[in-house]
Every structure is written in C-alpha cells, then in structure tokens.
C-alpha cells in the first residue's frame, strides 16, 4: 500500500496539472466560440429600468400595473436614439436568416429575427417571454424578458394571464431553432388563455447571443 501511494505522488502531479490546464484552455476557447456556450462573467444585473407608460393605456391597462421591465446587462443592448445610451450596435454582420434558419418546429405564429425583436422592445407594450426552464433564465436571458417556462404549472400560467392582458403583444423565445418550447408555450397561451397577439423568435437565445458577440466585436474595433 505505501508503494502504491508513493507511485501516485511520484507519477501523477504533472500529467494531472496538464490535463486540468488543457481542459481549462479548451473550455474557455469552446465556450467563447459557441453561441450556446457559457461565458465566464455574468452580465451586470438591473442596470436600467424602463418603466411602462405613465398614461393610461386602454389596450394594455399597464397604467395600473406595477410592471417594470428590468434590463439586465443593458450596456450590451444600447442603441442610438434610445433611452439606453448611445453605443453603436453592429448588427447584420451575419444576416439573421442565414445564421438562424426558420424554426425547425412548424408554427402558425409570425417569426421574428432578433433585430426586429430589438426594435419592437423599444415599445414597452411588447412583452418578451422566455419559455425555457427557470434555471436557464436565471443563468442568462435576454434583457427585459420575463420567465414563463413552457412546462409551467397551471397556477403560474393563470397568474401570468391575470397579470398581462390578453391583448398584450407577446414575443416568445427559447434556446435555439431546434427548441420546441417557445412554440408549445405560444400554442398554450393562444388556445387556452386567449392571447391573440403572439410572435415567436425562432433563433432564440442563441441568436441573441451571436448578435451580442457581433455587437461586442464591432464595438471593440
């Protein structure tokens, strides 16, 4: 037994360290290159709060609600002419349709690319809904989105329906083009909860992540 222990300590440290180092390097490189990778730093939280319109809106009824869209990581989504700042966002380096083909899931709802969603989000009437499970939302999400996992229990769906009027324009996304959860949630909210204005962002979080990477690359030049 002492012989075995001495073998462990004599032989192992260098290869062990080398394996760990190689894994670190590969992990960092792979995750930075992949649109669905995990980044080392979490985006800053609650940077800007965009309040709903102060005047009463008969269509949405937001005036009497305490709805606020919290824009996590807002420094990354600043666009000229908006309240968020004056940083230029370099979009369109890769056409959205080329980078993110239409959803692999058949859908009756209108599909939007991230630049279109970004434009719509300038209006606080539009509500961005994250259909992924809660842990993914907590990890990272598109700024301003609210979480409503497609597999939410009825009580949560009912609470959502009570909070947001049926005419609220909803834009729903999930992980990527292969993810069916946005479509499932859209179906559910449309058929069982009476929402009439639903759009999907089929590219999902992956499309947003790529757009962010391009924006950061463009901003860094």
């Amino acid at each position: 037994m002492p012989q075995i222990q001495s073998q462990i300590f004599k032989r192992s440290p260098l290869p062990l360290a080398a394996m760990l180092g190689a894994s670190l390097l590969l992990g960092v490189a792979y995750n930075n290159a992949s649109p669905l990778g995990v980044r080392g730093a979490k985006p800053p939280e609650k940077v800007v709060v965009a309040s709903p319109p102060a005047t009463s809106n008969s269509r949405t009824g937001y005036a009497n609600e305490t709805l606020s869209l919290t824009l996590e990581g807002a420094r990354n989504v600043r666009t000229p002419g908006t309240a968020y700042g004056n940083q230029t966002v370099a979009m369109g380096l890769v056409p959205a349709q080329a980078a993110f083909p239409p959803s692999m899931v058949q859908s009756a709802f209108p599909n939007l690319a991230w630049p279109e969603v970004q434009t719509l989000l300038k209006s606080p009437q539009n509500l961005l809904v994250d259909a992924r499970v809660g842990t993914y939302f907590q990890a990272e999400h598109i700024p301003g989105a609210v979480s409503l996992p497609a597999n939410s229990p009825v009580v949560e769906l009912t609470a959502f329906a009570a909070k947001y009027p049926k005419t609220t324009p909803l834009i729903i996304y999930c992980g990527s083009a292969s993810c069916p959860m946005a479509h499932n949630l859209a179906d559910l909210l449309g058929s069982q909860y009476g929402y009439s204005n639903i759009k999907l962002m089929p590219g999902g979080f992956a499309e947003y992540r790529v757009a962010q990477s391009q924006a950061e690359a463009g901003g860094g030049k």
Binding site: L20, G27, T135
Partner: protein, 158 residues
C-alpha cells in the same frame, strides 16, 4: 486462465469507463448551457463563477480522461481524475438526494440511445438517486482499476 480473465476484465472496465466518460462529455458539450442549468439546479453553496468554470471545463476534462483511458496513455493520471470526478458526483448527487431535490442529474444524454424523455426507464435513469448509485459504482470501478494499474506499474519497475 485466471490471469486471462483478470486482464480481460480490466480491459473491459477500462474501455467501459473510457466510453462512459466520452459519452458524458459529449452530452454536456452538445449544450453547455443545459449542463450549467443542471449545476444551478443542485443549489450548491458555491459562487457563480466557480459553477460557470465547472460547466466550461469539466466536459473537456471528462473527454480527455475518456480518450486517455481508451488509448492507455497516462492511465494513472486519467484514472486519478476519473476518481476525483466520480467522487464529486457522488457528493453532489448524494447531497441533492438528501435534500430531496427533484432534479435531473445532467450527467448523460439518454436521447443518444434513442430513449424518449417521457418513458419510465428514462425517468428512473435520470433521477438523482440513480445517479448517486451509478457514481458510487463508477468510483469503486475506477479505484479498483487504479490499484490494478499501479500494482502492474510497480511490478514492471521492480
């Protein structure tokens, strides 16, 4: 005859552990965010940057271990890491099970075997209690293989 059986058993065990580690790593690398979400679900008292670092690096460490076990390169180092990883899985799944967390262990992608996510078999195989016993068994297997390999190395030298 006994020697042949033992050698074959060691070979089979090494290949089994190697392939399992490669499978586990590919499952995680296919969607690292899923794996990161699984790590968050364990509700471990660890800082976020540590969990992110784990999600980024652990699949690659598993892949390296698996490939080195199959290729029989630096096998003691690969087995040492395998024992460390399996022991961490035992602790994490045991803690989650003990706290009654109803989570998927995030270890292996069973859809690669063509198993639907709704079947009872998949539910059992994805459960945290099953993951705990599986990790425990794998740790025992890796320790056994490590001891055998070390003995063989000592015999070769001395």
């Amino acid at each position: 005859m006994k020697v042949t059986l033992e050698i074959n058993f060691k070979l089979v065990l090494r290949w089994f552990l190697g392939l399992l580690l490669i499978w586990a790593s590919i499952s995680k690398l296919a969607n690292v965010q899923d794996f990161y979400g699984s790590l968050l679900a364990y509700k471990l008292p660890l800082p976020d940057f540590f969990l992110r670092g784990t999600a980024m690096c652990l699949p690659w460490l598993e892949l390296l271990c698996g490939l080195m076990l199959l290729a029989k390169v630096q096998i003691q180092a690969a087995l040492t890491w395998a024992i460390i990883l399996f022991s961490i899985f035992v602790l994490a799944t045991g803690a989650a099970w003990g706290r009654g967390l109803d989570i998927s262990c995030g270890c292996l992608d069973l859809s690669l075997l063509g198993l639907g996510s709704e079947s009872e078999l998949v539910k059992v195989m994805k459960s945290v209690s099953f993951a705990f016993f599986r990790a425990l068994l794998l740790t025992v297997g890796a320790v056994y293989l490590f001891r055998q390999e070390t003995k063989a190395a000592i015999a070769k030298v001395g």
